[in-house]
Symmetry: C2
Subunit: 109 residues, 2 copies
């Protein structure tokens, strides 16, 4: 998954060794897994050449990272004509993991 961090989110990620983003739509820290329990445990952090992107390798807790019920958020492939196709199988039922209220929050990030 791809997410945004500010300096506080990054400091908290480093402290807890679990990934914390900053939600710009909700204007608050957003710990991945705060409603689902699907936290991302930091294995290691890599910094890119111009130091504005991080590649965080994680041990994901639970059956999937994506709030749509897939292991990865990148569950669709796009052909050269722009058509998309789901290429993964759901690994969990998001309705059972997220109460409707928290799911609405999660998708508004």
């Amino acid at each position: 998954m791809l997410g945004f961090m500010n300096d506080v989110a990054f400091a908290e990620t480093q402290r807890a060794r679990e990934v914390v983003f900053f939600s710009r739509s909700r204007n608050r820290l957003w710990k991945k897994g705060e409603s689902s329990g699907h936290v991302l445990k930091v294995r290691d952090i890599r910094v890119d050449c111009d130091a504005d992107s991080l590649l965080i390798r994680v041990d994901p807790i639970g059956p999937g990272v994506c709030h749509e019920g897939y292991r990865s958020c990148f569950f669709r492939s796009m052909a050269s004509d722009g058509a998309t196709e789901v290429i993964a199988q759901r690994t969990f039922d998001p309705e059972k993991i997220y109460a409707q209220e928290t799911k609405d929050q999660e998708t508004r990030r």
Copy 2:
């Protein structure tokens, strides 16, 4: 590597099946490899759940993607105290690949 695309860059990536970004600092299309020859040939494109990020899997041409001479831009690891360490070996000499002038452009993206 992580880069920004606008709609024109994305359309050109789809057309040529080689990755084209949009450089916001230079305010122009930026085809990866335009000075180095290290183009990224598109293997497949994946779209994330909220359709604002792409994961493009590529066949990279040449010994490395990063303008610093590494295979990947993520050649440094960061410890929990923030200290960074280079964890990869250079695969090419950027001075030989980029003329100084074009290298300066490449790093200003």
